[in-house]
């Protein structure tokens, strides 16, 4: 049986300056197919999809949509060709209703026929099995609901080719399961779905075929059923890698950090930390799980002296460090590498080079009026070698590096300071498998040195494999601290949703 080809991209090339982002890439998606696009950071996935959605124009090569050759000049052209992209960060107007967001940007008459639109949306949502209340305001929605709105939006625009960029990055396991059901429904209704993801088990669970990109070229397109995670990883990284995350057994030391009854409010007087208490021991990795915005950021910032806490205590070496300045806390050996959603916002200065970014914390300890850049340069070069950071040199602006390399610089810098307590948040966010494992190894090395590590993570599989214990946060409360050997992913998911479970 001949499949109907929805998307056909032939010999696509695209260069940015001297960087060859895509080189002779071939890619096709059929009707009713779920196609995963896999590749390391900088492999060219986003570039390719941006060309398919009209954001970039290819230098050469041709794109056929529904059998006709097209040339896109803007995203609007792509939407007209029934291509819809769902970005990783939702682009919704928070104060508006789902309905208003869905019809946003549509050509229409001067007046809006609310009833007609509502019934149209209802029709689509029942058709694809996407539960939605068209009149609910976006700011009242959970992450999963927001994603539903994004999906409905492109479906309402008539899209039958959907591109989803890391759709599960911010979802709980239960929400992910719901999303997969929706994706399968869409495929059944005759849509072509392209998923960009790093999570191999999701590729295995949902996709029909996988295209693997490596350094801007197509390595292979394989049927998912005929492949294995191991094979896909090897293709993606270009060499054979070991998939399992090590968890070296280290004898647990003394409690390095004792957090008790931490209470904190945000600007709107909403409780963001609600009686958080836990001990963090030397030589252990304590994972923190939770839906985004459950208080992880505030907890990190409270420990680092950046967030004003209402009450409670954080005891480090018999001293309550609450109320100390961030600099004083850094001096005591507590270091934080927080990787926010935009990666560069907090830990690094985008326009500065590696040396100057290294100096951010190091310059406090240098004596005299002037900076000493020379010794830092050698340290940076050492770091480039050790962590395999890809950069033209130590004087290259950080913002021009790829995401993975930026994160290596950040974590590398924190580790270089020989911390006693290391806080990492979203250390592998957006990183590919190869780079993630480098980071896990780095963190494990620290654990073996007896460092107490607080690891805020997103991927429950990683948390379960890497961490010794996992603490689950929900709405600023701890819903459980469990040993990762004895807990299941489903239990974690329930705790993330607020159900306290005793293990």
């Amino acid at each position: 049986m001949q499949e109907e080809v929805f998307v056909q991209m032939n010999d696509i090339c695209k260069t940015f300056g001297s960087v060859r982002a895509n080189y002779n890439i071939n890619f096709s998606v059929n009707k009713g197919e779920i196609h995963a696009l896999l590749g390391e950071n900088g492999a060219g996935k986003s570039t390719l999809m941006n060309m398919l959605s009209g954001i970039y124009k290819p230098d050469s090569g041709s794109i056929f949509i529904h059998g006709k050759e097209v040339k896109f000049n803007s995203p609007k052209d792509a939407i007209n060709q029934k291509i819809g992209m769902i970005h990783q960060h939702y682009k919704l107007v928070e104060v508006q209703s789902a309905k208003a967001n869905i019809i946003l940007g549509q050509a229409g008459s001067l007046f809006v026929n609310e009833k007609k639109i509502s019934s149209e949306i209802k029709a689509i949502s029942t058709n694809y099995g996407i539960p939605i209340d068209p009149d609910k305001k976006v700011y009242n929605m959970s992450i999963g609901e927001k994603q539903s709105v994004e999906i409905l939006k492109v479906l309402y625009q008539g899209a039958d080719i959907l591109i989803m960029d890391e759709p599960t990055a911010v979802l709980t396991p239960q929400e992910t399961e719901k999303l997969f059901k929706i994706i399968r429904n869409m495929a059944k209704e005759g849509c072509a779905v392209i998923i960009i993801t790093h999570k191999l088990h999701e590729v295995m669970a949902i996709s029909d075929r996988v295209t693997v990109l490596h350094k801007g070229t197509t390595v292979a397109t394989v049927k998912t059923k005929a492949s294995s995670p191991k094979e896909l990883t090897d293709l993606m990284v270009g060499k054979s890698v070991n998939l399992s995350i090590q968890r070296p057994q280290v004898k647990r030391g003394n409690a390095a950090l004792k957090v008790a009854d931490l209470m904190a409010y945000d600007q709107d007087k909403v409780k963001v930390l609600d009686g958080v208490s836990f001990d963090l021991f030397e030589g252990e990795i304590l994972g923190v799980a939770g839906v985004v915005g459950s208080g992880q950021k505030e907890l990190c910032e409270a420990i680092a002296g950046l967030y004003t806490v209402e009450s409670g205590s954080i005891i480090y070496n018999d001293e309550n460090i609450l109320g100390l300045s961030p600099r004083a806390i850094i001096k005591r050996g507590i270091t934080m590498s927080f990787i926010p959603e935009d990666r560069l916002g907090m830990g690094l200065v985008a326009s500065m080079d590696m040396v100057d970014n290294y100096l951010l914390k190091a310059h406090h300890n240098q004596k005299g009026v002037f900076l000493k850049r020379k010794p830092i340069m050698t340290k940076c070069e050492h770091m480039i070698d050790q962590l395999e950071i890809k950069t033209p040199g130590v004087h290259h602006p950080i913002k021009q590096l790829s995401g993975g390399n930026i994160q290596k610089v950040l974590i590398g810098r924190e580790i270089e300071t020989n911390p006693h307590v290391l806080i990492t948040a979203y250390a592998v966010r957006g990183l590919d498998i190869g780079a993630s494992h480098t980071i896990y190894d780095l963190i494990n090395d620290q654990k073996q040195k007896g460092v107490a590590i607080l690891f805020i993570g997103e991927d429950l599989d990683v948390l379960l494999e890497l961490c010794d214990r996992i603490m689950v946060l929900c709405d600023g409360r701890i819903t459980g601290i469990v040993k990762s050997d004895t807990v299941t992913k489903e239990d974690l998911g329930l705790m993330m949703a607020g159900e306290a479970i005793s293990c």
Binding site: F16, G17, G54, V70, K71, F72, N73, S74, K76, D77, A78, N80, Q81, A304, L306, S325, P326, R327, I329, I330, M336, F338, L344, G345, M346, G347, L348, V349, A350, S351, M352, D356, L359, L360, K361, H363, H364, Q366, V369, F370, L371
Partner: protein, 355 residues
């Protein structure tokens, strides 16, 4: 239809070319304007040039205008690096001049070097304190520094005017609202025919360049400017950096006030800042916050001011028209930054996507 496309391939050579071309286009456009007024643009331009650089005397005059411009630009550059929009140069110049004048008028029996040194320090403190005010308000109450520094300018002007008409009025001036002239000891000596403010200026330019590039404090200022959050995360005391940088920024403007009061006006007057605080915003911005570039840009602007006033007398062109010339050049130079960042692409109106 035209469409904006962000450039990804801009080299520094190409950027310089665009900037030079923008000045050329500005001259052509301004030339049209001059032609409409019934003058020969080329004659007017060459007269402007001759007015600024035509004789040793004129060159000196131009440099005397350039000195305060350079120094004020370097001063506010420190604040600008931190993305603290200090447009209060005028006020800081005047308050520096006020502090220096207080010393000059009350301790005129001291030996000259000591008196000048005290005036110098007083000028720095005066300007610095005046800039510390908006910095403090920003740190404490997160006020908008643009508004506050701007308003403080007028307070400073009115304060000096009050002194001029009231308590500090020179009794020997026969009722004319004027502050007494400084004694000889309070006047900066000349070196190579120009008051020694140029030496002070060069020394400060070098010190500021080195400090911004190589010192810890300069580094912290850049970090705060690039990202306040990053600065806080890395343990930099952001408030202290803001206060310190603004004190120095305003202090350098205050030194301008001291130099102008001592060497140029030889007294204190409300018009002593002569708009340098505002013009310096433009020169600083055009120099891309680079202390070394500030010098040629400021000399260029000084030449425009001097040449502009020369053509007023030579061609009877009103001062307003001379100001328009300056504005056109500015408009083009600032506008050219758009073309450094973006290019315009012609887009056909029919939908190519459906071909």
């Amino acid at each position: 239809m035209l469409r904006m496309v962000k450039r990804t391939d801009m080299t520094s050579n190409k950027a310089s070319l665009i900037r030079v071309l923008s000045i050329l286009f500005a001259l052509i456009t301004a030339g049209l304007f001059i032609a409409i007024m019934g003058h020969n643009p080329i004659k007017v331009y060459s007269a402007m040039f001759m007015g600024a650089f035509g004789s040793t005397f004129r060159i000196k005059d131009t440099l005397i205008i350039a000195i305060p411009l350079i120094l004020t630009s370097v001063g506010i550059m420190i604040a600008f690096k931190m993305k603290f929009w200090n447009i209060g140069g005028e006020g800081q110049i005047l308050m520096g001049a006020f502090f220096a004048s207080f010393i000059a008028l009350n301790f005129d029996t001291l030996p000259k070097p000591l008196l000048l040194l005290m005036m110098f320090i007083a000028g720095f403190i005066g300007g610095g304190l005046w800039a510390l005010l908006p910095a403090f308000l920003k740190v404490k109450f997160d006020t908008n520094e643009t508004i506050i520094t701007l308003m403080l300018n007028y307070i400073a002007i009115k304060w000096i005017t009050y002194l001029q008409y009231g308590p500090w009025k020179d009794p020997k001036s026969m009722g004319f609202p004027k502050i007494a002239n400084f004694s000889d000891a309070a006047i900066l000596p000349k070196v190579f025919g120009i008051h020694m403010g140029w030496i002070i200026t060069l020394v400060i330019v070098v010190i500021v360049s080195v400090m911004m590039k190589y010192s810890k404090k300069g580094y912290e200022i850049s970090v705060v400017g690039e990202s306040m959050d990053t600065a806080k995360y890395s343990g930099i005391n952001v408030n202290r950096v803001i206060l310190g940088a603004l004190f120095v920024s305003g202090g350098i403007c205050g030194i301008v006030g001291m130099i102008e009061a001592s060497a140029v006006n030889q007294t204190l007057s409300a018009s002593l800042s002569a708009g340098y605080g505002f013009t310096a915003i433009i020169t600083t911005w055009l120099s891309a916050l680079n202390a070394a570039v500030i010098i040629p840009v400021s000399i260029l602007f000084a030449a425009m001011i001097k040449g502009g006033s020369f053509i007023q007398t030579a061609f009877q062109i009103p001062q307003a028209a001379a100001n328009i010339l300056q504005s056109i050049i500015l408009f083009f130079v600032i506008g050219s930054e758009f073309f450094v960042q973006y290019k315009l692409v012609l887009k056909s109106s029919k939908k190519e996507g459906s071909v």
